[in-house]
Amino acid sequence: MELTGADIFVRCLAEEGVEFVFGYPGGAVLPIYDALYQQDKVQHILVRHEQAATHAADGYARATGRPGVVLVTSGPGATNAVTGIATAYMDSIPMVAFTGQVPTAMIGNDAFQEVDNVGITRPCVKHNFLVKDVKDLAETIKKAFYIATTGRPGPVVVDIPKDISTHKTEYKYPRRISMRSYSPVTRGHPRQIKKAIELMLTAKRPMLYTGGGVVLSNASKSLTEFARKLGYPITNTLMGLGAYPATDRQFLGMLGMHGTYEANMAMHNCDVLIAVGARFDDRVVGNVEKFCPTARIVHIDIDPASISKTVKVDVPIVGPVDQVLKEMLKLLKESGETPDAAAMKAWWKQIEEWRAMDCLKYKQDDEVIKPQYVVETLYKVTGGGAYVTSDVGQHQMFAAQFYKFDQPNRWINSGGLGTMGFGFPAAMGVQFAFPDETVACITGEGSIQMCIQELSTCRQYSLPIKIINLNNGYLGMVRQWQEFFYQGRYAMSYMESLPDFVKLAESYGHVGMQITRPADVEGALKEAMAMKDRLVFMDFLTDKTENVYPMVPAGSGQNEMILV
């Protein structure tokens, strides 16, 4: 049977098992919206700004492991989506974004709402396509999902000219797809794996440095078993939080710029470093010259380009984390070999001394709410089981430090691009995926205003998100850098003319609360969490000048931390 491109589009999404499309209509995609209107397999969610559509799809993907899907119109719809596409790209999140385009005959004529979307998004996608013939549409969509979700995941953009949606062709969805130019690695090299195990077992001061790749590879269970089998200390990057249970004794907390003293010291002093699905980002490494000076390094990563990009490694293993760790566990069990017990005892003794510094301690105050205290209390009140999204800034770091994630896919934040405005729409995506779970968005008064319009979307779909606004009246992270590195010249980091967030929330039909005293924090959080079917905007007026500690200043060695 012949179908229009728009009908093919909808059928393909249904074939891919897509539950939600986050989007916003416009001229170039009207035929597609018309087709969506006439079916009920795929649900379209109407956001209030295309950036939010991409973040919502992204949040959905991070929480479920399934690709997030976006649909926006040509021109401004597409350009508004770019920030969210780039955000997903930097954190390797599977996403397929469909953008409308002017009719093929008009491309290149500076037509109404035309932008070269393939050109604009090229540097921030895993791949993109311009569909030039309706006969290619189904196969292109299949390829888009395949590329987005396999290997190192990432966003794929499919640009669909308006006439392609109305042209007709025979519909057949390809069952499988194979591409001669794309074949992601599915197994680590056995010889490299063996070499890595041998090196690991010689370690006197081993350290596991694990990242977002563990979450993306669904390898949390394997990692936990592997780490426990060896008894090695383990740290997570910001992107890896939850991949190993944070409440476990072997866990040293996050590492890096705002990581714990013990994690960074263990990194600096280790003799064998095992990097698992982590990409040696500069917020982790600091000064490359001073990084892990005494360590030999094993690196497991599915992307060959991640290996030895910034830090040279000794034993690279290209492959999926889960498969490689399972293989390693098998080898360990077969050989029966175990780490050097005496050396491990001494190493742990040293680590416990570092841990005893209690680097995250902060002074509780009777008058002023400490942001750390709010996160700690949220952790307590939610029993550690919430999905937590965050925006970007000090509140993000406090969330990472004080909410102890024992499960993967629960901590959802923009690490690589650091996109303010991400947290709230991302929480919408999570809440759609898990309507009965608690979804909390930890944000700041700066960040929340970057996608505040989504309060309207939440009203339309009755999303009971809990917004935890750590309102310090400052672009706090900027203020902190200005205090430390610009002699307190606070250029443009004070937020004036803030709205009354309580009234604002209420005007959208939500519940608003303002909390000003430490004594009210716990009660307010409990009250909000009890409102299972309402969005609650909690405006916590927090200490205006609190800083995030520890801090490794950019470009320093990991052992050169500013402590409280």
Binding site: G119, R122, S181, A305, K309
Partner: protein, 163 residues
Amino acid sequence: MRHIISILMENESGALSRVAGLFSARGYNIESLTVATTEDPSLSRMTLVTSGTEDIIEQITKQLNKLIDVVKLMDMYECAHIEREMMLIKVRASDGGRDEVKRLADIFRGRIIDVTSNLFTIELTGTSDKLDSFVDVLEPSDIIEVVRSGVMGIARGEKALRI
């Protein structure tokens, strides 16, 4: 260190811009770049001359391989290979200078492919070095126009870049 990288890629409209974009986005340099379809019309072959430290070259080849349109590539530097570049050069050749230019062209095995009463246009193939040398021996003020194709490379012997 100078490297010649040969790339087989899907003959798709955006493929060239992906390679060019990669180089500008990551700050790698391109000395020359040539591209044309192969005997299989669905594949293009690109030859790219670049330079950098070993680490940079390693990243360049990895990043190129990561592009979805790239099917296969080869760093010619890692094997015995032949490189060729073509140059078309228009030089002033009048009166006494005429014989001299002709003689130099002969020495470099160049062919004169267009003649006027006071100009020669010469076609020359060889390594980039050879082309450079030819340009060097000519009187700079006599050179009117130079067109170079950019380098192409192919491995010696049985080794081949094919799918």
